[in-house]
Symmetry: C2
Subunit: 203 residues, 2 copies
């Protein structure tokens, strides 16, 4: 008997379902009640939304920069972009204001259990954060070790040390132990999930 | 005799060339040596670049937010976005840090010679600026009267008054005279064209 989806589309059993399998694998690891396979970006957006609603801070994720090549204007409807390319961002992903302070950070997660690979960060993002610090802004990185559900706030000053170590021929990653020693660990909560503002007082 | 362009394309004299005529019209009005029909956005990007290079401030324009619907991955080349739509921004266009202060502004130009139409601004941009001010950030609007090549910095507090006047049934624009009375006029220079940082001390 043929099985169809409710929308009439034919059900085709597939032997390989990498996307689904990955989700299942992730859920297996997830012992926390509030985390349901959310990305770090999801968690941060929810946290920033919470801050915004409560008037605690105004911090937004920047849109992804795109180079738009072709736009069509179908009659009576909105413009449709038909050709565009992702551009590499010249700044970090998140910025905003908290208590008169300028806040600027990048957020990265890793599946590694032992270290954070620095290839996740772009050269110009480091440069941007150094410029922010020179203007007395607060710049840092939020790192999630997804396997452990552990979160760290690494001040830019520390990140810069590891970055320069790499540039001068040293290791291309920061070990979890080094992060434990140089960064502030953030205990994830129910809501907001990643309450990073209180930790910024320590920076 | 048929006249061809150097690239061999046929020259077709056109009676209506609205785009070109507009440019010509703009140039006619342009008595300043440094402005060559640049948009306000161009001028601000150059100014912000200047500030960045000299280490005076770190202020960037945010990318336009897009809703990406369809992405193709042609083999061996970069991902191509094949369907995307413009989204209305939830914040202002520009933000950054200057001397430890959070800076946030929207920039708008008008062809009108007598008033600035408030329909150029979105409701949520006003809301965003009010939130910024509550967090002790510096929020304002840069207005260019393109016909006069006159530039003004209107603090958010003044903008809010005109906005609320509109919401309560008043006029939907701000007259040039009102702007002269409530905003700080910025004299355009050669380089940077719109040196707005010194005026922020007055806000």
């Amino acid at each position: 008997m043929a099985i169809n989806y409710p929308n009439g589309k034919k059900f085709v059993p597939s032997k390989e379902q990498p996307a689904k399998q990955q989700t299942a694998k992730k859920n297996k690891k997830d012992f926390s009640f509030s985390n349901r396979g959310k990305t770090l970006e999801d968690e941060l957006n929810e946290t920033n939304d919470y801050y915004l609603q409560l008037g605690l801070a105004v911090i937004h994720k920047k849109p992804v920069p795109l180079q738009i090549v072709k736009v069509e204007y179908p009659s009576r409807s909105a413009a449709v972009i038909r050709e565009a390319y992702f551009q590499s961002p010249s700044t970090t992903d998140y910025n905003g204001v908290w208590n008169g302070k300028y806040i600027d950070f990048e957020a990265k997660e890793t599946e590694s259990k032992t270290s954070f690979p620095l290839k996740n960060i772009h050269d110009h993002q480091i440069h941007h954060m150094s410029q922010v610090v020179k203007q007395n802004g607060v710049a840092f990185m939020i790192i999630r070790f997804s396997s452990w559900q552990r979160y760290f706030i690494m001040p830019y000053g520390e990140l810069e040390v590891f970055w320069n170590r790499m540039l001068t021929g040293g290791r291309k990653s920061v070990t979890l132990q080094e992060i434990e020693e140089t960064s502030f660990e953030l205990t994830p909560g129910a809501f907001p999930r990643i309450n990073y503002l209180p930790l910024l007082n320590k920076l």
